[in-house]
């Protein structure tokens, strides 16, 4: 296996034409990829380590958005006061992400490109209407995150293209994230969900709820939020509407039925809790 570590974006793009695209794999934090190799997954002929590219690093506070380089580690997100202030659901997802040793390596871009249905950061990112900047040697486009995630482990990136930055539009709304795991640390979500909301006069005036690990991709609980926004209140009887937007499966962590019930009960509980608290973080 050949190993390359480009140190600028232009080095990466310039070298790409000399590499054989079908034999290349990209390495980010490696926390998912390296144990796969150890378990017998075939090694690529050429491994390109993109962590050292400075254009993929850092958290930048813009006027209307925050831009996060795709190779920013989950620990950096967790420690960022900016993220905690503007996008608390993403900070909460970082808090509940594995343990320190993994957070120090795992990257936001890696969590996106891995496209796990239970990926901790995807659920809040969907709720925030996140955009991603995809750059190639001769291309540069910014598209909704939901456009590039196709299904478990599959993203819509062409060979040579990089997920360069993750763009979170500032909205002034409050937000919240919850992950149900089988233990607090080091657990893959049984279900997770994010809520982005505004409250006025004890009623929800704006509400987006996304849920993970209940479908092949993160889903929006639009049927539920539609009903709630009609009268502003999260009534218990509305929770049945959650079924319209999810398609959970049985697996080693939980049954589909448990996931349905847990998600409805947790969403019900926390929507009431957030309303009682009356404001968000």
């Amino acid at each position: 296996m050949k190993y390359s570590r480009p140190e600028t974006l232009s080095q990466y793009f310039d070298s790409w034409s000399t590499w054989n695209a079908s034999k290349v794999a990209l390495l980010a934090g490696g926390t998912d990829l390296i144990p796969k190799y150890e378990k017998g997954h075939a090694l690529p002929e050429h491994l390109i380590d993109i962590k050292a590219i400075p254009e993929l690093q850092g958290i930048v506070d813009g006027e209307n958005s925050i831009e996060i380089g795709s190779m920013t580690t989950i620990e950096s997100l967790k420690r960022s006061a900016m993220i905690r202030r503007y996008f608390p659901a993403l900070a909460m997802a970082a808090d509940s992400f594995a343990g320190a040793q993994i957070r120090n390596r795992a990257t936001l871009g890696g969590n996106i490109a891995n496209a796990s249905p239970a990926g901790d950061t995807l659920t809040p990112l969907y709720a925030y209407d996140t955009m991603v900047r995809i750059t190639g040697r001769d291309s540069d486009r910014t598209v909704p995150l939901s456009d590039i995630v196709r299904g478990p482990g599959e993203v819509n990136l062409r060979p040579g293209q990089l997920l360069q930055t993750v763009i979170l539009p500032k909205s002034g709304r409050s937000s919240f994230f919850y992950k149900l795991g089988l233990r607090r640390a080091m657990a893959i979500a049984v279900v997770n969900f994010a809520v982005v909301y505004s409250i006025a006069d004890h009623h929800y005036t704006d509400l987006v709820i996304t849920a993970g690990a209940v479908a092949p991709r993160v889903v929006y609980l639009s049927s539920l939020t539609g009903a709630i926004l009609d009268d502003g209140l999260p009534r218990r009887e509305y929770m049945a509407l959650v079924d319209a937007d999810i398609s959970p499966i049985d697996d080693i962590r939980a049954s589909a039925e448990y996931r349905r019930m847990a998600l409805k009960n947790l969403v019900d509980h926390y929507l009431r809790h957030l309303l009682e608290r009356g404001h968000g973080r």
Binding site: M1, K2, Y3, S4, R5, P6, E7, Q11, S15, L27, G29, G30, T31, I34, P35, Y37, E38, K39, L43, E45, L47, D49, K51, A52, E75, A98, G99, A100, Q101, I102, N104, R105, R184, A185, M186
Partner: protein
């Protein structure tokens, strides 16, 4: 750009426990195997091999990582500290003394990883809450002690002047 001159090997230069080390390593070799097999630093343990348990924890450029999830080539130019490097021999490091005093060790297999996570935690702040101890050790699993004694050892070390 750093790249391999021969397809399967890489001339790695790293600093391990304060000493410069140069070795030709297979590009697919994990940091864990480089430390244990190539450098014979067997204090770093392998248990799960997939990043769940923290037995292989080392400090890479000032941050704890699971050495089973890092390739040796990725550490080119970096500084690595293993359990062998936390003290120059006798006497043991203070945190090691505390683990002994609190009986925070049973079979001992997870201990090097816990010690490094604990040191990282203790170096990061002066006063440590119980919650911070739990969070700082959450990436390490012990199947013997039930964690209470480990927790006490780290909390006590954290409150010493």
């Amino acid at each position: 750009m750093i790249f391999t001159e021969t397809p399967a090997y890489f001339d790695l230069e790293v600093k391990v426990n304060g000493e410069n080390v140069s070795r030709r390593v297979p590009t697919h070799q994990r940091l864990l195997d480089f430390l244990r097999e190539t450098l014979q630093l067997t204090g770093t343990k392998e248990a799960c091999g997939e990043g769940e348990c923290g037995a292989c924890t080392v400090i890479l450029d000032g941050e704890t990582v699971n050495s089973c999830l890092v390739l040796a080539v990725e550490t080119h130019g970096s500084e690595i500290k293993t359990i062998e490097g936390i003290t120059s021999g006798e006497p043991p490091a203070e945190i090691q003394e505390t683990f002994v005093a609190e009986h925070a060790v049973q079979c001992g297999y997870c201990t090097p990883g816990f010690i490094l996570s604990a040191m990282q935690l203790l170096n990061s702040q002066t006063e440590i809450t119980d919650e911070q101890v739990r969070e700082g050790l959450e990436g390490n699993i012990c199947r013997c002690t039930g964690y209470q004694k480990i927790h006490h050892a780290v909390a006590n070390a954290g409150t010493k002047p």
